[in-house]
Structure formats: structure tokens, C-alpha cells
Symmetry: C2
Subunit: 316 residues, 2 copies
């Protein structure tokens, strides 16, 4: 397929308008460079890294691919500002920001010539990101894994609203795992797509094999949002989440619940593969994940499916 | 557009594969007959009717349209079985069942030659409906208004799973309000679509004007699921729902919360237009509802948008 006129491909200088989400514990240099080498845009997920580790992953990515890649930074995280500094220092050309306001850091990134994309859960915040000077937005529906908006707007209803609300291009995210969904996203106004959980369950992801297998086995209904009162997170139901939810239903104070969650729950789940007691951050797209392919295999399938979905329309 | 080979059109004997959801307090004979006269399939929403009133609405619909129409029956409701009896007595040709098992009533409806469609929230229940002899399923994502599954599976991830799981045709529902979304649904495996809230906010719906205006004004994030512990319902945030949720968060027992909800909340909201104290049953598609058109106008737009969405693909 020829995407040479596609806005997202032109913005990043890539071959296919497919972005790999920057996820905690799953997306280091190996995954990001594999996606970039396959013609998409790989992102380093800095959310689970200290600044020194992010530097190391940037250096390794530069060696592993000559193609464009980026870094995802959760701005409200402990190292939000520090990660921005690292990206500027290392002359990273593309930065995706999330979980926090784009007001503070977008100007200094833009001044340094960085392409900046912000992740939003609705049209109002998409407009704000545009006003801050962002070059594109990722519009992420509630089906996505990990931190999630409180409103619970789904991709289907939110994408066209965001696409209509801004003039910068929209990258659709949340619930995409194959070419059919990618085609549906384009019909609803997307110029590109971002896949998170689907890439977390590939060979090159640093997620533990047991985590990947859990994604394959789970249906979408098991990827629930929990911790609603404090900070909504979508992850797979397991012993830990069940305990958390039953304590929550019994009226346990929020602080006590956060103590139960503690630190390192997602590391335990995604990276160490503790499927019972870890936080298995994942999106509803587990419904459609049936195997653990390589990145190249996944990209080929995705683009084939995208093309076939259009052919089936014209033949109707 | 020529839908003469479309499975849903052939199943019901209609012109366009567009079903109007059978909603409480909004879909009487006037709305259902208008939709059927416009080439779609109108459904009487029996959930807010006693059997005598359903009889009356069936009689009036027969007078108002010579085209096929149907009745939606929430099986677990007070009058579930009685409504099935009314439909058999009145020789209604199409029945949509929801909220309850299709096991008991599907066989006797099928024996009488009725076309039976069951509403499901996931692939597993779609298979069960198929095994019970249903002719089609409505696959309704969590974005839909009213009673809702606990798992919260969204349309985007659920539709392709249902389409792949059954060999009977799938009607997609939840989050559809225009031709773009209808096209996306078809790409994801649908042979037809069902629109609820979008039809509730048309001229011919019996919902109160204040309810319709609330749908126009609300964005999708205001259509929240509440009453999760007892029976999840998606409706617009207002004084009543806020009070309910804050009492719930404070650990109020479920029985007391149900007493607060009481009887007639949806009547108060949808039919009587009490936008502060009523239950304004509505889906996330409020995000995309900007006006209160006639049914004919809506159908024309929907089909135009559906066609344009395909043209824009082939021109890419």
C-alpha cells in the first residue's frame, strides 16, 4: 500500500502510519527498533524507566535502527520533566506525551525542533493539545490498557469527535489489534493508529512470556478498569485485582487500597510474569489476541487486513 | 444504495439494514411505524408497556405502516412472558428479545413462524443465542444506553468477535449515530445496525422534548454507567445520578440505593422530561447527537454517510 501522502507518515518520516504505544515494562529498545525497522514508529516507554535507563535505551535504539523512533513520556510521573530533559539532550526527534498537561513541556520541545504528540481521551483535551502547539494527537478510547480516563469514552464515539475538533492529524488508539479495526479507525477520521497491548504481546516485547500468554488466553471482558476512585487502570482480572475490588466494595479507605497496590505491581505482572499477584496492564483487545507473533509478522498482517477491508467494501 | 442481497434486509423483508432499538418510553407506534415506512425496521419497545398497552401499540402500528415491524421484549421484565403471548396472539412477525435467556421463549416463537433476534453483550452469549435457534443477534457494546453488561466490552472489540463466533448475521449496536459508524460496523463484521439513542432523539419518538434536548447538549462522557452493584444502567449524569453515586461511594447498602431509585425513574426522565430527578437513559452517542431530526431525515443522512464513507476509501 502506498502511504506516501498520508499525513502521519509524512509527519514522522515513516512508511506505514502505525505507532507502537510506549508501554511500561514492555517497550524497550528491542521492540521500538523492531517496529521502526518494520516501517512503523517505535516508541520507548519511559514510564517504567529512570532517566539513566532511558538514556541507555535511546542509545541502543539509535544503534538498532536508522529509522525514526520516539519516546513516550507520562508527564505526571516521577521522572516526567527529567525524561523531557533526556530527550532534548539526546536529540530525540519525536516525543509522545501523556498523563499530564502538555502546556509546560510542549513549547520547549517544539523550540528544539522536536515533533510532539499528546495522548488525549476526548475532544476538549485534543483542542487544548492543539492550542499548545502539538503536531498530532493520539485519541485513546477507554478500551486501552493502563491509565484511563474517568469518563470512559469509547474509541467508536470519541474518534470522530476528536477528528472533527482539531485540524492536526489524529492517531487512533484503544481497541485496535488488526487491519479491520485499523480500517474502521480511518473511516472514523484517523490518519494513523497506535497499538499498545497488541505489540506488548509480540516476540520482541520485554513483557514476560507469562504476561503475553495471559493476553492470549484472556477475553476482553477480563480486561477491567479498577482503582476507579484513585486512578483508573485497565488490567486483567486476577487474584490481586479481585482482592482489591472486594476490599474496595467493602468500603476500604482509598489510602489503604493504594498501600495494597504498593509500588512495582505492574513490574511484578508485566515484567516478572506473576499472573496472580501482579498488575497485568492490558486493553480489551485481548479479546482478539490469539498468538504471539514477531513484529514483522504483525505488521504484515495488519497492513494486509487493512487493504482487504477496503477491497471487501468495493466488492459489496 | 442497493441492499437487495443484504442478509438482514432479506431476513426481515426491509429495504435498508437499519433497526430502531426498542427503548423504554421512547419507541411507541409512531416512531416504529415511521422507521418502517422509511425503509428500516421499527421496533415497539415493550419494556415500558403493560400487555394491554402493547396490544394497542401493535394495532396502531399495523394501521400506520404496511411494512415489517417488530417488538422488543426484555424477557426478565415483569411482563416478559406476557408480552411474548401478546406477540403470538397478534401474529407479530419479528421479535427482538433482550435481558434474559433466549432458551425458554425462542422455541415457541420459532414454532409460530416468528423471526427471533436476541440482544447479546459478547461472543459467548451470541453462540448460545444461535444454539437456541435465533435468526440473528444484536451485538450491543457498552456504549449503549440503558441496561448494560458488567464486563463493559466495547463495540469495537466485541463486534468482530461476535461476527466470527456465529454463522447467523450480526446486527451491530452501541455507539452508532451516523453513516461513518455504520460503515465501520460493517467493516467489523456487521450485516446491519441498530440505533437506539439516536432514534430516541428524533421528532417521532415519544421521549419528552427536554430529554431529547439533554441528549443534544450532553457530550458522551456524561452518559455514565451507574448502579453497577445491582444492575448497571447507562444514563446521563444529573442531580439524581450524582446523589445516587455519592451515596453509593459512602457505602450505602444496595437495597437502600434501589429504594432511592424507586419505580418510574426512567418514565420521569425520558417520558416526563424531569432532567434533574429522572433517569435519562442514553448512550455515549450523545457525543455525536447535535439535533432532533425527523426519522426520514435521519435515515437519508445515515445512508448518505454510509455511502460516502466507502467512496472516501476508494479515492484514497
Amino acid at each position: 500500500m502506498d502511504f506516501s501522502q498520508n499525513e502521519i507518515c509524512r509527519l514522522f518520516g515513516i512508511q506505514f502510519p502505525v505507532v507502537q504505544g510506549g508501554m511500561v515494562w514492555a517497550s524497550g529498545w528491542r521492540l521500538a527498533s523492531a517496529v521502526s525497522n518494520a516501517g512503523g514508529l517505535g516508541l520507548l516507554g519511559s514510564g517504567s524507566m529512570k532517566p539513566e535507563l532511558l538514556e541507555e535505551h535511546i542509545d541502543k535504539t539509535v544503534v538498532a535502527t536508522s529509522r525514526p523512533f520516539g519516546v513516550n513520556i507520562p508527564l505526571a510521573g516521577t521522572y516526567g520533566a527529567a525524561h523531557v530533559d533526556v530527550c532534548l539532550q539526546k536529540k530525540v526527534k519525536i516525543v509522545f506525551t501523556a498523563a499530564g498537561s502538555p502546556k509546560i513541556h510542549t513549547p520547549r520541545l517544539k523550540e528544539a525542533g522536536v515533533t510532539v504528540v499528546h495522548v488525549v481521551p476526548n475532544a476538549l483535551l485534543a483542542k487544548k493539545a492543539e492550542a499548545c502547539g502539538c503536531d498530532a494527537v493520539v485519541a485513546e478510547g477507554t478500551e486501552a490498557g493502563g491509565h484511563n480516563g474517568r469518563e470512559g469514552l469509547t474509541s467508536l464515539v470519541m474518534w470522530p469527535s476528536v477528528a472533527d475538533a482539531v485540524s492536526i492529524p489524529m492517531i487512533a488508539a484503544g481497541g485496535i489489534g488488526d487491519g479491520r479495526a485499523m480500517r474502521a479507525a480511518f473511516i472514523l477520521g484517523a490518519k494513523g493508529v497506535q497499538l499498545g497491548t497488541r505489540f506488548a504481546a509480540t516476540v520482541e516485547s520485554t513483557a514476560h512470556l507469562k504476561y503475553k500468554e495471559a493476553c492470549v488466553q484472556a477475553d476482553g471482558g477480563q480486561a477491567r478498569i479498577y482503582n476507579l476512585q484513585h486512578m483508573p487502570i485497565r488490567s486483567l482480572m486476577n487474584d490481586y485485582v479481585k482482592e482489591f475490588c472486594s476490599l474496595e466494595a467493602a468500603g476500604t479507605p482509598v489510602e489503604e487500597l493504594q498501600r495494597l497496590r504498593g509500588k512495582g505491581r505492574s513490574q511484578k505482572g508485566v515484567f516478572e510474569g506473576d499472573v496472580n499477584q501482579g498488575e497485568l496492564v492490558a486493553g480489551q483487545i485481548c479479546e482478539r489476541i490469539k498468538d504471539i507473533p514477531t513484529v514483522q509478522e504483525l505488521m504484515t498482517r495488519l497492513l494486509d487486513g487493512f487493504e482487504r477491508a477496503a477491497v471487501s467494501i468495493s466488492a459489496r
